[in-house]
Symmetry: C2
Subunit: 744 residues, 2 copies
């Protein structure tokens, strides 16, 4: 298993012919030819529906290849006989078939087709410790085509992970099980990231591989390569079609992430049928254009040695990520459903399960793992423990020689926050100079990077607008991977999904990523996965309202604050000044299991009296109040850049003899978590005269202003004009707040 321990033997295999490297077929590299080793009895020569000049290919790949008589040399010489390998591969297939059948729900097709590469990865190639799924130096695996999760569950089960026991397989897709319908890192130890929404998994993998490269560059020494693992991923046609995968893979090529090895399950079937109807591009040529090394394994069904050789070739290419296109048959083994849409996302049905058992010569009852297969896989428990123990010894050696670096790496591995880290955050007084919260944010970022070794991040080509550069550091690039400024280019979705990968590499990583707040629309799918998968990514979102001015309505968020307040497990923070920005960062750093979005202004804002980090931590708090007995005449509620307006309006109203409370509502989620008593102390039920002001949609504000209050906001799209003009035209002024307050 340990690739590094047998480099010589491994390299010897590289010389083998790999049938079907894309480069070897320049005329039609992406079209499927009948694989050489594919000569199965049932290949009776039916033709595909496609009218195109594609070569003949069987619509049904049915009978298995005969097991080879002699033992073959496998990657590490440990994998057992060919017969046992095939048995193991069929075990994987039938665990998937049986689990989907029992649930009467799920996706058997991918596991049946990808079982060979799955087996080779988990049994022959990957380095992991099943009894400690969180061992730092493990190889990472991501199933980007997450619907095929039974593949991964079967592999984790065989490998000896405690998270997928026999009963878990039998509980596939049931309430409370550890084997949900798509892989979820928070349900199943051994699953690195949450996938299912297509295309994001490969981007997560780019993030994982980025971290390996970064930490290796920072911490490895000539005599001790303490950080050293691969990131493997399986992605399907659907992942390839999604734009996010192209974004992330363009970056992976740019960064030269040589230890990222992606298997493209090229099965030519998606939900709508043959991919011929919507997806005829030359995928490997595209990846070469993106700077990847590419390989084509033409027979992914039975060409085990080709898969092995491809992995070795990929490992030998150190300056580029590798895409291994593996042509497979979806639902391989099912005599009547293989190579068809019907095996993609439905149970085979009892009759076809039986036919598949016959076809693959599988006499066992459902969920049975044959003893020899079980015994063969059992070594991973001891080997995994040994791998981790070896690494621990290596780390002890590292710690002895490189004390300072070891301490830093340890905080990244453990996630423990250095004592007193929060004192690094800046604080402000009302006398501090006015500034945009995006600038104040930059002060926080540059303060935090001094105290948090795992702090890194960047922007989607807006570093100088989002104000996100870490001044002490250079750019993370192919030649400078030890640096911490990430340059994502104009790729918001890829940025978010890569950040989700980064944060799940190790607990002490704090990735932040930035764009204009309105462009959360481009990356919303990744932000949702952050929230769902308990990923403490910090989203630095500047230009958070019409206050950005002339760029106009395409660039002005309106509905965005509310749209995130409706999303579970995410913190939507909108700080009003320096203290609140520092508070928002404190909250973001502390919340490792939910992402934080910081909505920050482009425009300058004053430092207000009464704001505080502690206030932000409560979500909402009183900034000023001149009443007694928790009974002001009126409560004005503001957030972010509009808190200033509320404060001004309060001044006017007080001049007219009213008692006024000003509340800063930085985060609805945090406020919701406070005690009823605290909530009543901020919003006393007896005070119905309430006015909110926020440069965004008003829907939802009824929660705080009640039936008798008024919400000042924006329920139309913005406009292109200087910011002050738009604020005035839209009624977001102290005068209007005063007028509305008096009308109550």
């Amino acid at each position: 298993m340990a690739a590094t321990s047998s480099v010589a033997a491994a390299q010897a295999l590289v010389g083998r012919a790999i049938s079907g490297r894309a480069a070897a077929n320049p005329t039609h590299p992406d079209r499927l030819a009948l694989p050489a080793g594919f000569g199965l009895s049932s290949l009776s020569g039916r033709r595909l529906r496609s009218a195109r000049g594609r070569q003949e290919r069987s619509p049904r790949a049915a009978a298995p290849a005969q097991p080879r008589a002699a033992a073959v040399e496998t990657l590490e010489g440990k994998a057992g006989t060919a017969a046992l390998v095939m048995k193991s591969i069929n075990t994987i297939r039938f665990l998937a078939v049986d689990a989907v059948e029992k649930a009467n729900s799920g996706h058997p097709g991918l596991p049946m087709g990808c079982a060979p590469m799955g087996h080779i990865l988990y049994d022959e190639v990957m380095r992991y410790n099943p009894k400690n799924p969180y061992w730092f130096n493990r190889d990472r695996f991501v199933l980007s085509a997450g619907h095929g999760c039974m593949l991964q569950y079967a592999l984790l089960h065989l490998a000896g992970y405690d998270s997928v026991l026999d009963e878990d397989l039998k509980n596939f897709r049931q309430w409370g099980s550890r084997t949900p319908g798509h892989p979820e890192n928070f349900e199943t130890p051994g699953v690195e990231v949450t996938t299912g929404p297509l295309g994001q998994g490969i981007a997560n993998a780019v993030g994982l591989a980025l971290v390996e490269r970064h930490l290796a560059a920072r911490f490895n020494k000539p005599d001790n390569e303490i950080v050293d693992h691969y990131t493997y991923v399986i992605l399907g046609d659907g992942c390839q079609m999604e734009g996010v995968s192209n974004e992330a893979c363009s970056l992976a090529g740019h960064w030269g992430l040589g230890k990222l090895i992606a298997f493209y399950d090229d099965n030519h079937i998606s939900i709508d049928g043959d991919t011929e109807i919507a997806f005829t591009e030359d995928v490997n040529a595209r990846f070469e254009a993106l700077g990847w090394h590419t390989i084509w394994v033409k027979n992914g069904n039975t060409g085990y040695d080709d898969i092995r050789a491809a992995i070795l070739e990929a490992k030998a290419v150190k300056d580029k990520p590798t895409l291994i296109k593996v042509t497979t048959t979806i639902g391989y083994g099912s005599p009547n459903k293989a190579n068809s849409y019907s095996v993609h996302g439905s149970a085979l049905g009892a009759k076809e399960v039986e036919a598949t058992r016959q076809n693959l010569g599988w006499p066992y009852e459902p969920f049975h793992v044959p003893e020899d297969v079980k015994s063969h896989w059992s070594r991973h428990i001891t080997e995994g423990a040994a791998l981790e123990a070896q690494w621990n010894a290596k780390f002890a050696e590292y710690e002895r020689k490189y004390k300072e670096e070891a301490a830093e790496l340890k905080t990244i591995i453990s996630g423990e926050l250095p004592a007193g880290w929060e004192t690094a955050l800046p604080t402000y007084t009302p006398e501090s100079s006015a500034d945009a919260t995006r600038n104040l944010s930059q002060q926080c970022l540059n303060a935090l990077v001094n105290v948090l070794p795992g702090f890194l991040g960047g922007s989607a080509d807006l570093a100088s607008s989002n104000m996100t550069l870490l001044k002490k550091f250079g750019d993370f690039q192919k030649s400078t991977p030890e640096e911490r400024n990430l340059r994502f280019g104009v790729r918001e979705h890829g940025m978010g999904a890569i950040s989700n990968g980064i944060v799940h590499h190790s607990p002490g990583l704090f990735p932040y990523c930035a764009t204009f707040f309105v462009f959360t629309d481009y990356m919303r799918a990744a932000i949702r996965i952050s929230a769902l998968s308990e990923s403490g990514v910090i989203y630095v979102m500047t230009h958070d309202s019409i206050g950005l001015g002339e760029d106009g309505p395409t660039h002005q968020p309106i509905e965005h604050l509310m749209s995130f307040r409706a999303m579970p497990n995410i913190l939507m923070l909108r700080p009003a000044d320096g203290n609140e920005t520092a508070g928002a960062y404190k909250v973001a750093v502390l919340n490792r299991k939910r992402p934080s979005i910081l909505a920050l202004s482009r425009q300058k804002l004053p430092q207000l009296a009464g704001t505080s980090i502690e206030g932000v931590e409560k979500g909402g708090y009183i900034v000023s109040d001149d009443s007694n007995d928790n009974k002001p005449d009126i409560i004005l509620i503001g957030s972010g850049s509009e808190l200033e307006i509320a404060v001004k309006a309060a001044g006017e109203l007080r001049k007219e003899g009213k008692t006024v409370r000003v509340v800063s509502l930085v985060s609805w989620e945090l406020f919701d978590e406070q005690s009823d008593e605290y909530k009543e102390s901020v919003f006393p039920a007896a005070v119905a005269a309430r006015v909110s002001i926020e440069a965004g949609a008003t829907v939802g504000w009824e929660k705080f202003i009640g039936g008798k209050g008024k919400a000042i906001g924006i329920d139309r799209f913005g406009a292109s004009a200087p910011a002050g003009k738009i604020y005035k035209e839209f009624g977001l002024t102290a005068e209007n707040v005063v007028a509305v307050a008096k009308s109550l």
Copy 2:
């Protein structure tokens, strides 16, 4: 100008050498070599920061090339002398420079670099009628890099469009102007689509080109090609990085949209500086992998003939779209800021404007259009009118010979709805069989396609799940472009942006597009542009809640309903059964200036008593009520699949002697538009006991349930289990509604 009228002359030019075709430089096709015709005096040989082996290139392209002494032959032989062409190009540059300077806001860099291709397109190539920006058979132009909108405004101004007069240029980016900060179709006739959020414009252009190909295939006759125009687009580095552009361009290649010609403004500068830091892929090679024809014009600054020849070559390739990579210098002409980030998004400043005037030999005052330039462009008014008149005559001829087709095409051109179209919609009684609203939706789609000639659409690889196939039609494919089922593949964002292009081609087009509701996250940026740009796209979003069951939380929408209710100018519709689904489609068809999202169930739902199309049109209405005097004991409010639960709970409560009103709240937006009187008739202020039930986030429901009501919903992520189980565990049951109602 009329390309078709001088095919022979045009073809003669194809033979010219086009310097720099990508294929001619296989070693490094995407890296910039110093263009041959680029030998300007100031090219003093500074080196780029990049450490890579890129060839020497000037960071500043300053002095203009000398005008050639003799007149050159231009594309159609009408473009005037070379000196005049250069003068026109500089006019475009300075209109942009001056407008940005006056506004002290905007993006001068792109217009200065792209002025040559802009001039050639609008003055020499495109067929349009400035006095009728909506002439059906016009060539379409999309500025995907929308921040460079001053390029388009300058061109529209010169071409004689009434939408961009002298005062409009001077009002650039000001309140109420017709020249906003990014191009907006609803502000400026002549602008086809709203761009700015990067990458979407090229996808819009794919939609426009798709329509041309579709309508041409449906309506053209051997003796009368009544539909015949090109779609041109300029996109920048930012557009290229965004995943959505890869999605749309993969489809354009697949569909073989030969009349789509895209100019890639390859200026190597984005906001973060040199694209070298994040974008080093080989773009032309990627496009070839996507099935495009590609050309590289190495000198886009002064190589006018190369640009012209590239366009002719592109037109000659009829079975593939063409990408013309045009290497330009951002801010061309500015001696100190060209080829730098600083010219991308800020005014040059008075000093640099003056230096640029000196450098380009431009003696005129701001906003001045020299008389000879004005006079040269003035012909477009008469020529445009003639083009339209010729086409009108052609159409009259067409109508005479092909009466039926002409009538159909006319409804597509005019957008007039056929009388009685809505009677095609199905209706149901409580006795009609229970069905999922996704299936009922399919009945509506197949009914509407019979009566609306411009009805077409499809799904992002979920046709059989979204139930969106039009049974009478085949697939729109390269070889069958007359068909109406669009197969978008797993490309939600591209699908939405393409649909925005389709809808803006002609008023009588009704594109629908479909995916799972949760994957609106992938296409939210396109949906927002639908809403902003008044695009009546119909979004068919199935699997709209935890009711989809086992696929689990990655696939179960929670916050999505509310997130769209917060978005301006969009209709979020959640029908409960057959009648309501028909009502939702009626609303969607009638609302041509705002998009509609239909949230539809995967699971079977009964046909309820009291539901109606008319009710849906009001947004919310009473489904049943056993009280008198508009004063029930309790009001139960449901939407979509939960209306059934509200109805059941009402039955239980009535058995216990309560008077109960059940309200179906299909669309908050439509309900908001009703009179206060109607609203009071549905939700009487006197009845505070209200319970809402909806399988989604509860934030925002205070609006209808008031301070004393209760909202039953879901404020966490979903779960992987059978749907019924999740409903029960989450308390979305009639029993729970009854219990909550009794607690009030």
